[in-house]
């Protein structure tokens, strides 16, 4: 696993290294909850996630969750990984199953996971939950859900690592 030198992950434009920067800035795709107030609660994103990533029909296997506050008379809340710059889930992972790549993506190595659920506790927004066999379901920002959101709640954006 690569050691992250800059633990805050914050980019500092003025503090350029003396050596020349790589020619192409690294980029990654990140899921963005652009318009949560447009959600109609169809759960199409959740089904898309489990169908396309796990090949099942399931709410539990989905990395994105639609919840309500105060029933559907209240508001819908989209709970999904926001692709933190300095992900607490990675820091909480003792077994190296969650790895942050240089471009900022967090990848999950299932074979290393001990199922301790520390990553779940570390995520304040509750974006990591356990799927079958107690292993975390982690959003990979693939955008499968975006295509099945009929109201443009979700978008895929490109961010510099």
């Amino acid at each position: 696993m690569e050691i992250q030198e800059n633990v805050t992950g914050r980019k500092d434009a003025d503090a350029k290294p003396a050596v020349a920067a790589p020619t192409k800035p690294k980029k990654r795709r990140r899921l963005k909850v652009a318009h949560p107030e447009r959600c109609i609660g169809c759960l199409g994103c959740m089904f898309a996630c489990s169908r396309i990533r796990q090949g099942t029909a399931s709410l539990q296997d989905s990395a994105i969750k639609i919840q309500t506050r105060g029933g559907i008379e209240g508001d819908f809340v989209v709970v999904v990984c926001r692709g933190c710059e300095n992900p607490p889930c990675v820091r909480a992972c003792q077994s190296g199953a969650l790895e942050r790549k240089p471009d900022g993506r967090v990848v999950f190595h299932e074979e290393l996971c001990s199922g301790c659920k520390k990553c779940e506790e570390a995520c304040l927004i509750g974006a990591i939950s356990s799927g079958k066999e107690g292993k975390p379901i982690k959003c990979i920002h693939c955008g499968a859900c975006v295509a099945f959101c009929p109201h443009g709640v979700l978008e895929l954006e490109e961010v510099t690592a």
């Binding site: 109609i40 169908r51 539990q60 105060g70 099945f148």
Partner: protein
């Protein structure tokens, strides 16, 4: 796929699940499995409000698997009609049943005191509900939400005071804004001391070939969102029909005294959409979002202080609580819908009962003595709200009688010729012609959705269908919908689920059926339901058809008793009934 039946006995306070693969193989799921379970569970002549009367919930093989397969069906003995009770609800109930791992739930017995059932996967608990007995349906939902687990996955269904009082057309509110509305399931809940069911689960469903599953899913999804197969439900919603039917002279007005409403514009779908609509919602698994929510803002003091209520509306409630009661304002309609939501009343039956009572009051068949001084007059929304409250918590015999349905009330107080029920069920909002009347009369649950007679009338008006052709269409729909309701899909998506698409979708979840086999199944389900209906006393040859249908001009012109009798004769012959 899990093909289990969960049995819950409220008297014995116990439950168990049983695998019944053969039952599902033969009867598919949904209404097919439902009618079979009802035949097993409900002995002939059972009192519909006794502990021996079962409640059965079923979903089908497509629920939670494909878009717009978003309904669950409840089967029971109807306290309103005394025969087949069958009601559908959207929301999340179907999904919660799927992921809790129960494709059917059978509830038997009667709890000793008010209770609710909490289901978490295989774990079933019967819990005390004494502290929420008497609480309105909306507040009950809020309280249970705080107490129970399963945020985002669960479904909460519950009755209001009307179900507790055994009003024969009390419904069960599902999540928010959806209902097992028709035929009195709420009263059956009440009779069992059952206030609510909360259900959630964490199961998942594996498919034989994930790639194929994704392909079929994509195809059906595209058909749903990108073609005009469901256009009607996107924009203004079903309430767009207020203007359409008014123009076609098919909009029941003031208890069917007229088929067009001079003030229809004020309660039209366009009026609601432009001035009150603030949000659209969908049932879980449907990208359409046809549930239209209006904000009803009413001042409660002269100092700019307001109550804001969020009320869902559709075509049927605007007909039954609007034009049919002569109500000339959207606010008035919304207030009445909101009252039904809180009390847990079926909006359609409640509206038709009130419209009968209003005409009976006008004709002095009932007097202020019965109504306790309440002036039941067209467009008198304050009186109507109070009357609904009185029906749900009856202060005298008259309101208690109103709670037994329009057939019962008119038999006692008179005015049967304008008591608008068919097969004992208060009619829906279409005076389009004979197919609508016959369709509701012979339909398995006496609903416009059994066979869409109203739509056959409109087709007939354009294409000059003769009596036999109309009957053929009714029979075709009767049978096809038996299959579709076994899946259990939303009827708004019936144009997406063509026969070919159904065969493909079933194959993708590992169920191989041919079109012919599905046709046979549809016929078989219909016959099985009629076995139950006839056993419990329904006879289409002797059913009452209110005279009013023949007096008021319809979309198809004046409907004569002769054409209705002719169509009934053809229908019986084609069904092979003597």
């Amino acid at each position: 796929m899990l093909r289990k039946v969960l049995y819950i006995d409220l008297s014995r306070e116990e439950s168990f699940a049983e695998e019944r693969q053969k039952l599902f193989d033969e009867w598919m799921g949904g209404t097919g499995v439902g009618i079979k379970l009802l035949m097993e569970e409900c002995k002939p002549g059972t009192d519909s409000l006794s502990p021996e009367a079962p409640i059965i919930f079923c979903i089908g093989p497509l629920n939670g698997m494909f878009p717009v397969a978003t309904k669950a069906v409840a089967m029971f003995k109807s306290p309103l009609t005394g025969e087949l009770g069958e009601s559908y609800a959207g929301g999340r109930f179907h999904l919660a049943m799927r992921f809790a791992g129960h494709e059917a739930i059978v509830i038997r017995g009667r709890a000793e005191r008010p209770c609710y059932i909490s289901i978490n996967d295989a774990d079933v608990k019967i819990k005390d509900a004494a502290s929420i007995w008497g609480v309105d349906a909306q507040t009950t939902g809020m309280i249970l939400r705080e107490h129970e687990t399963g945020v985002g996955r669960r479904s909460i269904i519950r009755i209001g005071p009307a179900g507790e009082s055994l009003v024969r057309y009390a419904g069960v509110v599902v999540d928010t804004y959806r209902h097992f509305g028709r035929l009195g399931l709420g009263a059956t809940f009440g009779s069992k001391n059952l206030k609510a069911i909360v259900i959630s689960g964490t199961e998942h469903v594996e498919v034989p070939d994930p790639k194929k599953y994704r392909e079929v899913y994509n195809k059906l999804y595209q058909a749903t969102v990108q073609t005009d197969a469901m256009e009607k439900y996107h924009d203004i919603g079903t309430s767009v029909n207020i203007s359409v039917l008014n123009w076609l002279k098919g909009l029941p007005t003031k208890n069917f005294q007229s088929s067009s409403f001079p003030e229809a514009e004020k309660i039209s779908g366009e009026m609601f959409a432009d001035n009150y609509l603030f949000r659209r919602l969908s049932c879980a698994g449907c990208p359409i979002g046809c549930v239209h929510i209006a904000a009803l803002k009413s001042p409660f003091s002269p100092h700019h202080e307001f109550e804001v209520r969020k009320v869902s509306y559709d075509y049927e409630p605007i007909y039954s609580l609007g034009s049919n009661l002569g109500v000339t304002s959207a606010e008035g309609v919304l207030r009445l819908i909101d009252a039904c939501e809180r009390l847990g009343l079926d909006v359609m039956s409640a509206g038709v009962v009130l419209s009968w009572a209003t005409e009976a009051y006008e004709r002095d068949l009932i007097t202020p003595q019965e109504t306790l001084g309440l002036p039941l007059q067209w467009n008198n929304v304050d009186s109507f709200v109070k009357a609904l409250e009185n029906i749900a918590r009856p202060p005298n015999e008259f309101y208690s009688d109103l709670g037994r349905g329009v057939d019962f009330a008119s038999a006692k107080y008179g005015g049967q010729e304008f008591a608008m029920a068919l097969g004992g069920n208060e009619v829906s909002g279409y005076h389009t012609g004979p197919a609508s009347i016959i369709g509701q009369l012979v339909g398995v649950r006496h609903s416009h959705l059994d066979n869409a007679g109203y739509s056959i009338d409109q087709k007939a008006a354009k294409k000059q269908l003769d009596a036999e052709k109309m009957v053929d269409e009714i029979i075709k729909e009767d049978n096809f919908r038996g299959v579709f309701n076994s899946l259990v899909g939303c009827l708004f998506a019936r144009n997406v689920y063509t026969e070919d698409n159904i065969v493909e979708a079933l194959a993708a979840v590992g169920i191989n059926k041919t079109k012919e086999e599905l046709k046979d199944l549809g016929r078989k389900i219909f016959d099985e339901k009629y076995k139950f209906k006839v056993r419990e006393g329904f006879d289409p040859a002797r059913a009452r058809i209110p005279q009013r249908f023949y007096e008021t001009i319809s979309t198809m012109g004046k409907v004569t008793p002769e054409i209705v009798e002719e169509m009934l004769r053809i229908y019986r012959k084609k069904r092979g009934w003597s």
